[in-house]
């Protein structure tokens, strides 16, 4: 029987030891979801961009954000007893929701879509929402068979303690969309400190 040299065993042992230590160490490190940079904040200049004519009311069925590979079905969401927007079941990681008592995406006003950044198992549907940039496209399929196409105006992050309700949920004179997920840093005791909010307006439909 051909002997395996001691040197070979020793080197495999050393490599395994080092890589095992590295894997355990880096695996335990936090991998926070991406957060928007200051450059993605609203500047007011987006008002000049073209606005497509408003579409009639129709519930949406699916949202796509090609820039971050999102393609997820939408469920209807209501409000919690505290008045905040409810969220889809956390165990369905590729599911987002829309506020069905409000404006439908494409209709004049502010339509609101929300989804999880993560759940107990790991990243969820809007994990990469914070890396969306101005000018990116958000598409919403509707039950009337049409697709509302939105262009991103800004991506901002807000602390839960000073959430700008009027800016995020307030009425708009043109068809607008908000896409919301958790973000803004994480605390072991209180969880995510805020929300990432994508602001977009309707620029086309088909």
């Amino acid at each position: 029987m051909r002997r395996v040299s001691n040197a070979a065993i020793a080197s495999v042992t050393v490599v395994a030891l080092c890589s095992g230590a590295w894997l355990l160490r880096s695996g335990a490190e936090a991998h926070p979801p991406p957060q928007p940079s200051a450059a993605q904040a609203a500047t007011g200049g987006d008002r000049a961009r073209s606005v497509a004519p408003a579409m009639p009311h129709s519930p949406p069925s699916r949202i796509r954000i090609p820039a971050i590979g999102v393609n997820a079905p939408l469920m209807g969401l209501g409000l919690t007893p505290q008045g905040s927007l409810n969220v889809p079941p956390a165990e369905k990681k590729n599911l987002a929701g829309w506020y069905e008592a409000g404006t439908s995406p494409g209709e004049r006003g502010t339509a609101v879509v929300a989804g999880h950044v993560d759940n107990a198992e790991g990243p969820a549907v809007f994990y990469d929402l914070g890396s969306v940039r101005k000018g990116s496209t958000v598409e919403v399929d509707r039950l009337d068979g049409r697709t509302a196409v939105f262009t991103v105006d800004a991506v901002e992050v807000y602390d839960s303690r000073s959430f700008p309700d009027a800016k995020v949920y307030g009425a708009a004179r043109r068809p607008e969309l908000r896409v919301i997920t958790c973000g803004g840093g994480y605390s072991e005791t209180t969880g995510y400190r805020g929300n990432v909010v994508v602001f977009a307006h309707l620029t086309g439909s088909r």
Partner: protein, 172 residues
């Protein structure tokens, strides 16, 4: 039996007719202008009606406050109301506006119209932050941890093998 039924139906119709006949008396007493819908978004059509002008009365409507101009309320068979329509201009600002109708015989009635930017469906808006994460993406990566444990197991096996050889005097 059949005759009784017919009689009852006849009585019911008579009562109903009496009720209808009595309606203008009450209607005439309410000197207000009904505005429907009473809450609208800019660009919407609004219908107003009033019973204040009497059974064959017409009226001149004035929605100038909200920028809807003047319009005519025509007599209608519906509860003997005078009915008219106007359009809220798309440029209308949110607020409460007084809509006025003046009957042909001079009586003046008013009603309020509330203009909002959002549709009524949107009146209840969510507030506060949204609970869309639990930090599950921040914990240890289970795949990476398992790979790390497996690598350490290989290292342990290698080390044991070497020690074993040394103990047997194979030379190390």
């Amino acid at each position: 039996m059949r005759r009784t039924a017919r009689l009852l139906t006849g009585t019911a119709l008579a009562v109903a007719a009496a009720g209808l006949g009595a309606a203008p008396v009450y209607g005439g007493d309410t000197g207000s202008l009904e505005v429907f819908p009473s809450t609208v978004v800019p660009g919407a059509d609004v219908t107003v009606n009033t019973a204040a002008c009497g059974s064959d009365g017409t009226a001149n409507g004035d929605a100038g406050a909200v920028g809807g101009g003047t319009f005519t309320l025509a007599a209608s068979a519906h509860e003997q109301d005078a009915i008219g329509q106007f359009r809220v201009p798309p440029s209308a600002q949110p607020g409460t506006y007084e809509i006025v109708a003046t009957c042909s015989h001079g009586r003046r009635v008013t009603g309020d119209l509330l203009v909002t930017l959002a549709s009524t469906r949107e009146q209840i808006q969510p507030r506060g932050h949204v609970n869309t994460g639990v930090g599950g993406a921040l914990g240890p990566d289970p795949v990476q941890t398992a790979a790390g444990v497996a690598a350490l197991a290989v290292a342990a096996a290698g080390g044991t093998w070497l020690l074993h050889r040394r103990a047997r005097g194979d030379g190390i």
